[in-house]
Symmetry: C2
Subunit: 219 residues, 2 copies
DNA sequence: AACTGATCGATTATCGATAATCTACCGGCT
DNA sequence: AGCCGGTAGATTATCGATAATCGATCAGTT
């Protein structure tokens, strides 16, 4: 699932090596295959993907831009992100963006509210059937729509660049594995939507902050 | 002035073509030499910089990461940012980051407060001497330090990636050219620092928002 | 032994050329 | 005229090879 491509381009169409390589590397970094500090050497990667050095380098430059790796001239590329501190920082960033988006977007148009409600129904049925991945997919759509509602394209691009389709999955799986599962998160979303419907900015942002607090509490 | 490099690496040491090219392109995009929508063709750029296609492509990939251009497969790279709407969006993002940073960092340690005070003195003397560029440099240091104070590295990297050393300069020059000049901005900073000293989060964030409102009012 | 400087292997940066793909244009057909 | 398919030129994506740089090692000196 690539939310960004789905929203912006008609077809993902990954004919291009660079994209395939980049997505593979993103996944490996965020799921821990490459722990923080791992050196990503270009020629070995080139051999692994059966390509030349060029597409590897370009993929690495893109990752540098999204902050997952850092490069030092003539010294190579190292994995930067994905330890827990970094995950928490990203959530902090996401929180302030989503809170501000709420403030900018309330009151919502009926069509937007219907869209959120549809997401919520799908999330609920996923929880009912213990379909964690289904819940995660839909929750990400819900939160992305929240940011989209702000009308701030810069927010949306930033949100997309943080790769929640991978990194959110990691955090939510841990919550799903807890005793109470995803039910509390679902209920918080319900309360949030109710306040959004009521046009109650204060109440809505409070619920949204509570949602993020749940994730932060993972520790 | 490259704040990012100055803070992270000992020496910028731009021995590498990619960096020189990237910085040139950033400046051209943000100062309007390349208006929004301009197609950046690789071979002509390669000829201009007397390099081959490779370093150009990598520079473009980095710009894509920081959101200044967008690429479509086999269709090339176009300038994305730097119209006024985009500038406003970036300021919105910067505002929520700086406000949140304040909330996280208050109350400040004495050393940090002294640093802010030193910035402020430099800003004041620059205004007194009508040295706009000097004011801008120091104001950017002040605001960067604000974000740094949050301890959130992700915030800081994002702040750096927005190229305020170019884009902030553009906005502030317009304010400096107005009737009242930079004086009101300086006074708002003074008020802000006073509230920071007092450990008054509410008051400080209010002053900070007022600062950003001044910029947004540029229209 | 500690220090200095030269050298080698590994790795990144860049090059020049080729393959893949897109866009615009053109002629034939309905 | 308007539509379709194909071809040419422009542009991007990738390749394979070379140059530049780094880190570690080692000989020689004190």
């Amino acid at each position: 699932m690539n939310l960004r491509a789905a929203a912006v381009e008609p077809a993902p169409l990954r004919v291009c090596m660079r994209d395939r390589i980049r997505e593979t590397l993103v996944a490996r970094i965020l799921d821990g295959t490459y722990p923080t500090g791992t050196k990503l050497k270009e020629l070995p990667l080139a051999r692994e993907f059966n390509v030349s050095q060029a597409p590897i380098r370009e993929a690495l430059r893109e990752l540098e831009g999204s902050g997952l790796v850092s490069c030092e001239r003539y010294r190579g590329t190292r994995v930067r992100g994905a330890d827990f501190a970094e995950l928490r920082e990203s959530y902090e960033l996401r929180e302030i963006m989503e809170v501000r988006s709420l403030e900018l977007a309330v009151p919502y148009a009926p069509a937007a509210l219907q869209n959120f409600a549809r997401c919520l129904r799908t999330m609920a049925s996923a929880v009912a059937r213990d379909n964690h991945e289904g819940y995660i997919d839909e929750a990400l759509r819900f939160h992305r729509a929240l940011v989209q509602g702000s009308g701030n394209q810069t927010f949306l691009r930033l949100w997309d660049s943080l790769h929640w389709e991978v990194r959110g999955r990691i955090a939510l799986r841990r919550i799903a594995a807890q005793r109470r599962g995803l039910k509390p998160l679902l209920n918080l979303h319900r309360a949030l939507l109710a306040r959004m419907r009521a046009g109650d900015v204060e109440g809505a942002t409070a619920r949204l902050r509570a949602l993020f607090a749940t994730v932060s509490a993972l520790a």
